[in-house]
């Protein structure tokens, strides 16, 4: 509702109407009354009275008729003289009545206009909210405005657009979900296929060893003697090394362990426990982490300046440590990968620094973890915290670390976010609400 325009319009309307009223109605009403009490009329009536009196004297037989006519004329003259005397009051009242009527109509019109404008403003506000919902990606936005004017038509368009967007979003989500599942299936298959293939090969070797061993021990003695005389190996084509079966079994165990680790990773992700929070000083917890893990990554130097003041938060110390380990692990891997891509000759490219900083943020505490690695690959940033979001080759990791880390912080009432990522490094922030 544009109050200034509304007031200006109404004022202009009122002035115009008053002007018209003054010019036309005032003159008309004044003239209307003036006709009735015009001096000529009154003078003629006076003259008529005198005539009737004279006629009554001159024509006595009809004197009574003249007297009656005289009385009627006298009454009329008396009324007109009353009107003449009260004309000013009558005209003023008449004008006041018209003015009141006009003011009432104008007031009603103004009220109707203001009410209409208010309703329009309310409808526009609802439309604005609906557009906000639409922009925020809320599904099936409803405006509940079915009028056939411009706003109503826009409302219908917004709802139509919302329906289309919701349908597309559902399709996209389905496709993304499907794509995620496909990626997960691919990684699962590969993670399982690698140890299974290796185990299969080892089993084939073991069977071969066993067969050769059996042939050497329980075969035809004549044949065994002939091969031995000719200096030929057994059925396997070579002589069985006494330590070979043990190596194969060890390899088999390693592959099975790899499968077990894969299964444990999934179990850890699927059954992430609830944090057992205690009141801790985040600065002290971070200091402890840096002290304990200073040598965990040979090519990653941890930099941390312990704050003087305490930063009290409610957290699960072990789970926070897991998050920090994940972030350090990612940084160390990224820095190592950069060194590999640089040819491996430059020792500087293989080492890096990870700086931890505590900072006050709105509503809580932020622990920033910044490295000087190559940064996060831009393509993966939008789904960085989703499971299986990784640039590592299959078999080198499932891409669950950041997903688990964020879940841990969300369970703390906080969050994990990527603050910035450039070719000169990436910075993550662990947000934790300040303890009450």
């Amino acid at each position: 509702l544009n109050l200034r325009v509304t007031l200006t319009t109404l004022t202009a309307l009122a002035i115009a109407a008053l002007l018209l009223f003054h010019v036309f109605q005032r003159e008309l009403s004044g003239a209307w009354f003036a006709f009735g009490v015009h001096p000529d009329v009154l003078g003629q009536l006076d003259a008529s009275l005198a005539d009737q009196k004279r006629l009554a004297r001159l024509d006595p037989p009809h004197a009574e008729a003249y007297r009656r006519r005289f009385a009627a004329t006298e009454a009329l003259l008396g009324r007109l003289r009353v009107l003449e005397y009260t004309r000013g009051d009558l005209v003023r009242r008449y004008e006041l009545a018209l003015l009141g009527l006009f003011g009432g109509i104008l007031g009603l019109a103004a009220t109707a206009y203001v009410v209409r404008q208010s309703r329009q403003a309310a409808r526009l506000s609802r439309l604005q909210e609906a557009l906000g919902d639409l922009a925020a990606g809320r599904p099936e936005v409803r405006v509940a405005d079915r009028r056939r004017d411009l706003i109503g038509r826009i409302a219908v368009m917004v709802e139509g657009a919302s329906r289309v967007m919701s349908r597309d979003r559902r399709r996209l989500a389905s496709l993304e979900n499907l794509s995620s599942w496909q990626e997960a299936a691919r990684r699962h298959a590969h993670e399982m296929r690698s140890p299974l293939t290796a185990a299969q090969l080892e089993l084939a070797r073991l069977r071969d060893l066993l067969e050769r061993g059996e042939a050497g021990e329980s075969g035809d003695p004549a044949e065994r003697g002939e091969r031995s005389e000719r200096g030929e190996p057994g059925r396997g084509g070579r002589c069985v090394d006494a330590g070979e079966p043990a190596r194969v079994v060890a390899s088999l165990e390693a592959e099975i362990e790899r499968l077990g680790r894969f299964a444990r990773d999934f179990t850890a992700f699927a059954r992430l426990p609830s944090p057992r929070k205690r009141r801790e000083d985040l600065g002290a917890v971070t200091s402890e982490f840096v002290r304990l893990f200073a040598g965990a990554w040979p090519d990653l130097k941890l930099v941390w300046a312990a704050p003087a003041a305490a930063w009290p938060v409610d957290l699960d110390r072990e789970m926070l440590r897991q998050v920090l380990v994940n972030l350090c692990e990612n940084s160390a891997r990224a820095i190592a990968a950069r060194g590999d891509s640089a040819g491996g000759a430059e020792s500087e490219g293989r080492s890096g620094t990870l700086t931890l900083t505590l900072a006050e943020v709105a509503g809580g505490v932020g622990l920033e973890v910044a490295d000087d690695g190559p940064g996060v690959v831009p393509e993966i940033v939008p789904r960085l915290f989703e499971p299986y979001a990784t640039t590592r080759r299959v078999g080198e990791g499932m891409g669950l670390g950041l997903a688990i880390s964020r879940k841990i912080l969300l369970d703390h009432g906080g969050d994990l976010e990527l603050v910035r990522s450039t070719p000169a490094g990436a910075t993550f922030r662990l947000f934790l609400p300040r303890a009450a």
């Binding site: 005289f70 009385a71 009329l76 003259l77 008396g78 009324r79 003289r81 009107l83 009051d89 009558l90």
Partner: protein, 204 residues
């Protein structure tokens, strides 16, 4: 309401019956605004409202009225009046000079001074109003105008007199009823001090 000169103030006298008699100012009827109205054929009413208050705070109120109507057919002034004691009086006067003479001699009971300190002094407030037509003439004009506007046909046999049974409701009647009022043509207010014990200094 104009305040008249002290010389034109009404005269006061206490009657034997205990009523304060009022002598209207002679100039009241002869003024430029009043005199032409007297011969209009309408009834000119001169009303007086009088209030008394003694030094002890006792008070009394009263009034009087004089109607003057010029009879156009007979060409005489008909005067009717009533005082605060309820007594009516009337006179028929052939011309304005006789009317003026009668007016000068008029003494009308304006208020009963019972309960006031007879020694005085009394504070007397007199209000005079000259109304150019009577209540019946007012009602007649209202009805006639309403009917004329509502039924703008030819006047009836009695020369346009309205039908008394005609309905008179609505905005027009409200307008006419509130507009045609008996507004005073002129009015005067006097505040006087009257002491009954000193006849030679009755008026101030």
């Amino acid at each position: 309401v104009a305040l008249a000169n002290a010389a034109d103030a009404p005269g006061l006298r206490l009657s034997k019956e205990g009523s304060l008699l009022l002598r209207p100012p002679p100039a009241l009827l002869g003024g430029a605004e009043v005199k032409p109205r007297l011969t209009s054929g309408l009834t000119t009413t001169v009303s007086f409202e009088v209030s008394l208050r003694d030094a002890a705070g006792h008070s009394a109120k009263g009034g009087a009225r004089v109607d003057v109507r010029y009879e156009l057919w007979d060409e005489v002034f008909l005067v009717r009046g009533v005082g605060s004691d309820g007594r009516h009086f009337e006179a028929s006067l052939p011309n304005f000079e006789r009317l003026a003479a009668w007016w000068r001699e008029l003494e009308v009971p304006a208020v009963a001074a019972r309960g006031l300190d007879p020694r005085g002094p009394w504070k007397v407030k007199v209000a005079a109003r000259v109304i150019p037509f009577s209540q019946s003439e007012q009602r007649d004009a209202q009805r006639w105008l309403s009917d004329s506007v509502r039924h703008p046909g030819p006047a009836n046999e009695s020369g346009g007199a309205p039908d008394p049974n005609a309905s008179s409701t609505g905005v027009l009647d409200l307008l006419v009823g509130t507009s045609i009022q008996r507004r005073a043509l002129v009015g005067y207010d006097w505040t006087l001090t009257y002491t009954p014990e000193r006849p030679e200094r009755q008026e101030r």
